[in-house]
């Protein structure tokens, strides 16, 4: 808790304490924590002197501003039709097998969260996924296993 308080203070110092600072601050929390806890949101509300319900309402509007606990690496598999046509389902299946979780879940060691996402903007190179900010395209089950293997070593 003291760390999150400190983080939010730093973010507010950097981005300001107006309503316009809200998204950059929440994005900053995501970068560090991968999700925004209720305590973090309450702290943001306090720093910006605004309603906590409005912070919550804003955070839950944006798919990337997760309010539920997430793993260190958040995987988002594109579910747009073009990725689907290129084998997105096998990719998701492979990820579920390798990570031993279903889409929407987080691994027991809190290392990975597996999610689906709307169009990631890689339709010509589907299937595609993001791991945190990093994009991976033209995926095959083999390639996915390899990529996850690398992350597991991290």
């Amino acid at each position: 808790m003291p760390e999150i308080k400190e983080l939010i203070k730093q973010l507010a110092d950097k981005h300001g304490r107006t309503r316009e600072s809200l998204l950059p601050i929440l994005q900053g929390v995501i970068t560090e924590e991968r999700f925004i806890s209720d305590a973090a949101m309450a702290e943001v509300a306090r720093e910006l002197d605004m309603s906590a319900a409005l912070v919550y309402g804003t955070a839950t509007f944006y798919s990337f501003l997760d309010t539920k606990p997430r793993g260190k690496y958040v995987i988002r598999v594109c579910k747009t039709i073009t990725c689907d046509m290129k084998g997105k389902r096998q990719i998701l299946q492979t990820l579920e097998d390798v990570l031993k979780v279903k889409a929407g879940e987080t691994t027991k060691d809190n290392k990975f969260t597996l999610l689906e996402a709307n169009c990631l903007g890689w339709c010509h190179k589907g299937p595609a996924m993001l791991i945190n900010e990093e994009a991976y395209t033209e995926l095959t089950p083999e390639k996915v296993s390899e990529i996850i293997g690398e992350y597991m070593k991290k």
């Binding site: 309603s51 319900a53 409005l54 839950t60």
Partner: protein, 596 residues
């Protein structure tokens, strides 16, 4: 004229002020356009889309509530396209809505139901989405029930909580099919910054936000032969109750209300106005004492300005938002709670009734009073001082349930003791009223003369301006109050918590220098309370306010200190204002609450 625009609606020419909407213009012509998200007190949302109309030359329909009237516009409000679209919109809302109307508290009082009825909707056009929704009902709060299955997401509540109340306990969360009205982290209403003011309740078009009712409990008590059930009625109920029983806004129904309560079976029909007068005695004395200690004794522990403490919405607001100012709150309990504490002590003693058999009910224009009654601080009589707080609306329900024809019931008077009151008490129901009543008494205590305003009407503190200031120069004081000689008593009045926030910010920044501040949590004060008949609009609140002041003018006695029952209770029971017994029963303290 430069500032008007001319347009044509359904073939009729109309001119309106620039900036008015198409909906406003249609109103000028008495053309009814259905609305749901629109509310006169709130900013434009334009999200329900039920008010769409056709504009010539525009392909899509336009939302009349959000579309500014423009020069040369040609509007049609009743075309095939418009009617089909509106019906679709209502059908869509119904498909997301738990339309089990017979089991709904708002049955026959629901704007969505009215529209469905108007459109003669029978067989649903679309599929039922409710079973997949996992809607929840939050009924943990003693004041308000939030039932998401009834919500049509018009956001009137969200705008109310934000714009009028500066609380934002409710917000919009998630998006798309998951979008919902939510508190912080979907916590229960009792566990967030909600002040229980109920302003959302009186603006919710459906049954998604309602007061928690205690009808069964009150009926059970009435029918229990071993219980002595007493009832008190708040000032603002007597000028609003009629609206729920077929009368015009602004009808004064004090006598009918007293008669009905007696007919319902209450053992004693008493008046919160009595304890409002008592509040003035205590609070007026407290103010003068504070001023003495602050101005003469220079006691740094004494906080000025003093804030009124009658409005439980305001109390909870300050507990959450400005806890550093809790010591500025008058320690006086609200009239409801003074009454409650005395009912099970003084009243019981005088009437020779075992207080444990007394059930104390209050009729309030307020939902926050339910919470206030349940506060652990409010048990100084040795019991819960007020057992059930019910709203003006709930009383109307009881009157209907009992088969009373309210229109024809003859006037009756309140019982005694604790039933007598003055004009100063009834004006508690309007914003500025507590201030005016306090000034009428305090000025006279200090100077021995009546307040220097014509006919005792201190018009400077009246009105609907969000924040009003008034100062009274105190001159030629009685010897005991010589320290106040020449003092300019500075006062301010605010109603609605957004205005309260404005005053608090000014005080915090040191920009305002008041001695006494009255705050009422609801717009218009209690006349616009969250427990009052629905709907509320600026016009309705004005009519209720006018009625309050008419009632005051019609009273035999118009100053609290002249109330004979008040004089009697000091003589027989309390001793003197701020005396030992008063402290025990009539004063309290509040505590800091979290900000989320």
């Amino acid at each position: 004229m430069a500032n008007t625009v001319n347009l044509k609606i359904d073939g009729i020419d109309v001119s309106v002020e620039a900036g008015k909407t198409v909906l406003d213009a249609a109103k000028e012509l008495n053309i009814h356009i259905p609305t749901l998200c629109h509310h006169e007190d709130l900013c434009v949302a334009g999200n329900c889309r039920v008010c769409v109309v056709e504009q010539e030359g525009v392909k899509n329909l336009v939302a009349s509530c959000a579309m500014p009237a423009q020069e040369g516009m040609v509007i049609h409000t009743n075309t095939h396209k418009v009617r089909n679209a509106r019906k679709h919109v209502v059908e869509l809302l119904l498909s997301e809505h738990n339309a089990d109307c017979t089991k709904c508290y708002k049955n026959t009082k629901c704007e969505l139901q009215d529209l469905a009825s108007e459109m003669v909707i029978s067989e649903p056009m679309f599929m039922d989405l409710v079973p997949e929704k996992n809607y929840t009902i939050d009924n943990f709060s003693p004041s308000i029930i939030k039932d998401d299955s009834k919500c049509i997401r018009c956001q009137r509540c969200v705008r109310t909580c934000h714009e009028l109340q500066h609380v934002s306990a409710l917000g919009v969360a998630y998006k798309g099919n998951e979008m919902k009205i939510s508190t912080f982290f979907e916590n229960p209403m009792y566990d967030v910054v909600c002040t229980n003011c109920g302003q959302c309740v009186i603006r919710c078009p459906t049954g998604a936000l309602i007061e928690k009712t205690y009808l069964d409990e009150v009926w059970d008590a009435i029918y229990d032969p071993n219980k002595h059930v007493i009832v008190q009625t708040a000032p603002a109920t007597r000028i609003a109750l009629g609206e729920d029983l077929g009368m015009e806004a602004g009808s004064i129904v004090t006598g009918k209300m007293a008669a009905s309560l007696r007919r319902l079976g209450f053992d004693s029909v008493l008046d919160t106005d009595f304890s409002a007068d008592l509040t003035i005695m205590e609070e007026g004395t407290e103010l003068l004492t504070r001023l003495k200690r602050a101005l003469v004794d220079k006691d740094p522990t004494v906080k000025v300005p003093m804030f009124t403490s009658c409005s439980p919405g305001w109390i909870k607001f300050i507990e959450h938002m400005y806890p550093e100012y809790l010591d500025n709150l008058s320690t006086c309990k609200s009239p409801q709670q003074m009454f409650g504490a005395l009912a099970k002590t003084y009243y019981a003693e005088k009437r020779g009734i075992d207080p444990s058999t007394i059930v104390s009910v209050s009729i309030m224009p307020c939902t926050a009073k339910k919470f206030e009654a349940a506060r652990p601080e409010m048990r100084d009589s040795g019991f819960q001082d007020v057992d059930y707080g019910i709203t003006t609306r709930e009383l109307a329900v009881m009157i209907k349930q009992a088969g009373i024809d309210f229109g024809s019931i003859p006037d009756e008077k309140f019982d005694s003791i604790m039933g007598k009151s003055t004009g100063a008490a009834v004006i508690f129901g309007a914003t500025g009223g507590v201030m005016e009543a306090a000034l009428r008494t305090a000025y006279e205590i200090v100077t021995g003369r009546e307040v220097p305003f014509e006919n005792l009407n201190i018009t400077a503190v009246r009105g609907m301006e969000g924040v009003r200031e008034a100062s009274v120069k105190i001159e030629n004081v009685l010897p005991a109050w010589s320290f106040l000689e020449g003092v300019e008593l500075k006062t301010a009045v605010a109603h609605g918590l957004t205005n309260a926030h404005q005053i608090m910010d000014a005080i915090k920044k040191g920009e305002a220098n008041y001695h006494f501040v009255e705050v009422m949590g609801c717009p218009g004060g209690c006349v616009g309370g969250g427990g009052q008949p629905i709907p509320t609009t600026p016009e309705i609140r004005q009519k209720r306010t006018d009625a309050i002041y008419r009632e005051d003018e019609g009273m035999e006695i118009r100053k609290s200190h002249e109330n004979p029952e008040v004089q009697q209770i000091y003589k027989e029971f309390l001793g003197e204002p701020l005396g030992h017994k008063s402290h025990e029963l009539l004063h309290t303290h509040y505590t800091k609450r979290k900000r989320v």
